[in-house]
């Protein structure tokens, strides 16, 4: 009996093998047309749902608790901000229609937009703004440090908010284009408590519907959005891809219509494809090498300078990034109001000068140092190119690949000689330089300290005129270039791609996908 069963099972197994082979082919061809429609010409369904590819899972959709870059990709469509970024990176009105700053730079008066409601029906008004700022100043808020200068908030009427600062603080408006400026519904916070992070409510074009961690986040149209005619889709689905090449493949196959980033190697291929639009523009960030100024060999200024001068940035960028980054020599990219082309243009390596510096530093025949870098293909390749460039001058680089968490940990604990770590960047110049080079800066992992730099950085914080500030930052950069505690290498570009049938996408240098204006042809 048993034997018979076994024989039958075998026969079934073999038979079903043949069947599946046929069935698979048939099913496949049936679906061919359906999927091709989605990838090529827009179908009725495509104007209903927009599918967005994200390169990471957004951990927290509450601006108060968020620190991940990818959170902002989703939050920017759930929440409106008090101010927004314009096409030329100028600060534009958002939920604040008009504002005034007092002469001494210590009082900001915001006039709010009328007729805005949160997605749960709560009206947006001065009380809501006060609630939000105070919430971001709470002890457990991760935005707290941005808002410390605010010491008082008045709400003389429903649509006016007056902020009192204890000192002039010019980055304030730029900060309100980011997380601290994202307005959450006070009613929803009171109702959900700690669970608000899983039920976010803002006043933005799309309202949160659901999420499956690691797979997707779904938003739906906010029918009461204050900008008439927006948004255009009924549903927005963010799909998570932990591999960027897979993300590109999904754009190509039509599963997603817009992606937040891509590997530099894919830029050329995708740009040549007439079905897609590729955006390859400088962001606000910078990348480079921390040199630990409190540890040998880089406690020696001349040796730092020798390394700084020995790297050909142009060649580095061409080799590794294939046009998806630009050579850089300051923390300010082309997108920044403090950008200065002359200062941001890296010098060409000068063998005679490098030799001279090495001799002055007491190492005429060169020296050896360890470079810590994250274990990603791009960073490792960059490190290897640098290794090759410096070895010409007798400077031997030992590359140590470590996992990103450890790299950060070592940097914070100053446990490195050189560490390859950059910054994703922010709109206001202060946020790209202060904490990196001020003695008390939270990112000052290179342990650089210079009273003059500290004073200039503090001064720039209080200057309201962007041109004056840019001049002050120029003075800071002169000193930094001379002392080289950090080797600026390049500014990374934002790489965004979308299907040609989408229209209305407006690029901003923060790289965020603002979807209110996007529609399908």
């Amino acid at each position: 009996m048993k034997r018979k069963a076994l024989v039958t099972a075998m026969a079934l197994l073999m038979g079903s093998g043949a069947l599946t082979a046929c069935g698979g082919g048939g099913g496949g061809s049936q679906n061919q047309t359906g999927n091709q429609a989605a990838a090529g010409a827009p179908s009725a369904a495509s104007s209903d749902t927009l599918t967005v590819g994200l390169s990471a899972d957004p951990p927290k959709l509450d601006p108060k608790l968020s620190t991940a870059l990818v959170d902002r990709q989703v939050m920017i469509n759930i929440y409106d901000t008090l101010f927004t970024i314009g096409p030329n990176n100028e600060i534009e009105p958002g939920l604040v229609e008009k504002y005034e700053v007092s002469q001494d730079g210590k009082t900001y008066t915001f006039h709010l937009r009328h007729g805005v409601t949160f997605q749960d029906g709560t009206p947006f008004n001065a009380a809501a703004v006060k609630f939000n700022i105070q919430r971001d100043q709470e002890k457990d808020s991760l935005q707290r440090s941005y808002l410390t200068p605010i010491v008082g908030i008045d709400t003389p009427d429903d649509y006016t908010v007056i902020l009192h600062l204890n000192k002039p603080y010019s980055p304030l408006l730029a900060i309100f284009t980011d997380r601290p400026g994202m307005m959450v519904s006070p009613t929803a916070v009171q109702k959900e408590g700690a669970d608000f992070v899983n039920h976010p409510v803002g006043s933005g074009p799309y309202a949160f519907k659901e999420r499956v961690k690691g797979d997707h986040v779904t938003l739906v149209k906010n029918p009461n959005y204050w900008q008439s005619g927006q948004p255009h889709f009924n549903t927005v689905t963010y799909k998570i891809f932990t591999d960027q090449n897979v993300e590109v493949a999904n754009l190509q196959s039509g599963q997603v219509q817009i992606i937040d980033t891509m590997p530099a190697q894919q830029v050329a291929t995708l740009s040549q494809n007439p079905n897609f639009t590729v955006i390859n523009q400088p962001g606000f960030g910078f990348q480079g090498l921390y040199l630990n100024v409190k540890q040998a060999p880089f406690d020696n200024k001349y040796l730092r300078e020798a390394v700084d001068l020995g790297i050909d940035r142009k060649a580095l960028v061409d080799t590794v990034f294939k046009g998806a980054a630009s050579p850089g020599y300051t923390p300010f990219s082309q997108a920044s109001s403090a950008y200065n082309q002359a200062q941001d243009t890296p010098p060409q390596p000068d063998p005679a000068k490098i030799k001279d510096l090495l001799a002055k530093g007491g190492k005429p025949n060169g020296f050896t140092f360890e470079l810590q870098t994250a274990a990603t293909p791009v960073t490792v390749q960059a490190a290897q190119v640098i290794q090759g460039m410096l070895s010409q001058y007798g400077i031997q680089v030992q590359i140590k690949q470590i996992e990103f968490g450890t790299l950060l940990d070592n940097a914070t604990k100053h446990n490195f000689q050189a560490s390859q770590l950059g910054w994703s960047g922010r709109l206001d110049p202060d946020q790209n330089i202060y904490s990196w080079f001020h003695t008390d800066g939270s990112q000052n992992d290179e342990q650089y300290s210079n009273p003059q730099v500290d004073q200039l950085l503090d001064e720039a914080r209080a200057q309201l005129d962007p041109q004056e500030r840019a001049k002050t930052y120029g003075r800071v950069m002169d000193i930094i270039h001379d002392e080289a505690p950090y080797v600026f290498l390049y500014h990374q570009n934002n790489l965004i791609a979308y299907n040609k049938h989408l229209t209305g996408f407006e690029y901003r240098a923060d790289g965020l996908l603002r979807l209110a204006t996007v529609s399908a042809q």
Partner: protein, 317 residues
Amino acid sequence: MAYVLQRIVTMVPVLFFLSVMVFGLIHLIPGDPAQVILGQEATPEAIQQMRMKLGLDQPVPIQYWHWLQHVLTGNLGQSLVDGEPVSHLIAQRLPVTIELAVGTIVVALLIAFPFGILAAVYRGRWLDAAALFTSTVGLSVPPFWLGILLLIGFTVKLHWFPSSGYVPMWQDLGQNLHAMVLPVVATGVREAAVLMRMLRSSLLDVLHQDYVRTARAKGLYGWMVITRHALRNALIPVITTGGLQIAGLLGGLVITEQIFALPGFGSLLVQAVFSRDYTTVQGATLVAALLVVVVNLVVDLVYGVVDPRMRLGKESR
């Protein structure tokens, strides 16, 4: 029955040992979870506060004790990154990976059995050579490479299958299967190659035994001998290999999950490791260990079904 019970009881110390290992080892990973969670921008003050909130300021043995207490009541804790209950995360992800694993095994069996048997029976002929050649190719091609190849060919170029968009089985079986075909083939081919070679050699071995010759001499026809007598005995080493393969699959599926953007257990574990999400790593590893132990148990029990000698041996103790 006593054997089954005995096996289950011996699982307890194994799992306890594993729990200590898992807990101890993850704390050896350098890098501060609070720093990783809060990112580059966090102030030292915020990091300190996060450490306290996560209980990381306490000694490791105390952290372990708290964790174990919760685990014993079925509470695997909350993700350090997003506060979601770990058991919930695992429950969401595990079915995907189990489906992928089962599909892989089915594909492996569908390929390995017919071709393995044919190769053994027609040993030395062109069919055998073709099967061996195919299996060598199958073994040499890494699943991630095959996965990418399938992705480019069948989704980007031909649009026959979706490149992502996993739909749970209970939501839409058709879409679910459609999305699973490529991942299952990508991993199944390799497993099929291993199984096929195993089956072929083991069957060849058995076919040369005296009892097979006797059966043939008694006038039984070729296929009858193979299915009734030879195959059954040839299956023992195949089951052993198969069992090990299933246990090993759990790790191997991680890459396939990444390539086809499947929200599975493997990718959960990988992401958790990178984000220093201790509780998720601990919970997920424990569940994975439990699965491997259970698979081993099942394999042992299947031995008993296929080969009565094993069963009797245990029962006579």
